[in-house]
Amino acid sequence: MFRLGLVSFGGNNALLMTRMVVDEHRWLSPAEMDEALAVATLGPGGNSSNLAYEVGRRLGGVAAGLTAYASMAIPGILLALTVGELILAQASRPMIAGALNGAEAAVVAMMVAIGYRLGQRSLQHRLDWVVALVLFWVVGPMQGSILVIMPVAVALGYLVRSCGWMA
């Protein structure tokens, strides 16, 4: 997690963590990782730190979760406190700004890949697509409140699925 914390620019490291936890070490199955990712995305706060906690908790309980959370955050905190001013002073230099632009674009690609990966396994019914698209549209382009729309969408989706109206 400490290593991931050092290379997780943009705050989203779900794909990196999935590669490490599922593909390299096989600590969690792909289905378990999907669940952890869903839990982390739905909780408040940052997805990456929530995911670190949830993966740690599944592997070794609360203490492991807290250790994973801290390991993810500590490298960035130490770097920001020690050399942050230097980075900030250099950030307007074209070469540094260009590198940061490149990193930002790479993070977009990583998020698309993890969204695709989770969607491929999770969007099995028409209802799942409806829930995903409604949340995407209302929270994103419509700028709706996630606090309002998420519980409503999830509750309606659950009811519809329970009644078997949309298979």
């Binding site: 739905l42 706060g45 920001a80 690609a109 996630i146």
Partner: protein
């Protein structure tokens, strides 16, 4: 506000409560609560707006999760090490408690009703992940056609390479930063 190492416990408690409230509502990440949090800290004089702006800028450039880094810098700027610990703990506590409960619930999802709920939650998470993509796309460098073309190309080609060819994400990150530094 400045750096006062002898800040009273009452001020720290107030700071912790304000951050905790923001942490509880930060569905979607730090950006969602940045504005109300700034008002909650600056208006009563707990922080200066300069401290908040500087901390946010620094946290954006640092690797790792923005929220804890931003709060650590805020805590440090006014209260030193104890400020770091209080601010990060106050930010982390609500999200960890809620994540913990959601995680425990998903562990028990073999039960039919919970399994159904988890399926809906996963679908919701897919929508929110692509909202994150949309937010990041909005921060692309629109002022420079060259930079914008490079970013769009990296995002498109990178997505395909990651999905179809399972490219190492760290390799993509390094290549994208290198390309960005060269084509600026």
């Amino acid at each position: 506000m400045g750096t006062d190492p002898h800040a009273s416990g009452a001020v720290l408690v107030t700071l912790a409560l304000q951050i905790m409230e923001a942490g509880m509502l930060a569905f979607g990440g730090l950006g969602v609560v940045l504005d109300p949090l700034q008002h909650a800290l600056v208006d009563p004089g707990l922080m200066s707006s300069r401290d908040v702006a500087r901390s946010y800028a620094l946290s954006s450039f640092a690797p790792g999760p923005n929220g804890p880094i931003f709060l650590a810098l805020l805590g440090w700027s006014s209260f030193g090490l104890i400020g770091v610990l209080v601010a990060v703990a106050a930010w982390a506590l609500p999200s960890l408690l809620i994540t913990h409960q959601l995680g425990r619930m998903s562990n028990a999802a073999s039960h039919t009703a919970l399994g159904r709920l988890l399926s809906v939650l996963k679908a919701a998470a897919v929508g929110l992940i692509f909202d994150g993509v949309l937010t990041l796309l909005g921060s692309f460098d629109l002022g420079s056609p060259v930079a914008l073309t490079m970013q769009v190309t990296i995002a498109l080609v990178g997505s395909i390479l990651l999905i179809r060819f399972r490219l190492n994400p760290v390799g993509l990150l390094a290549a994208a930063m290198l390309l960005g530094a060269v084509v600026h």
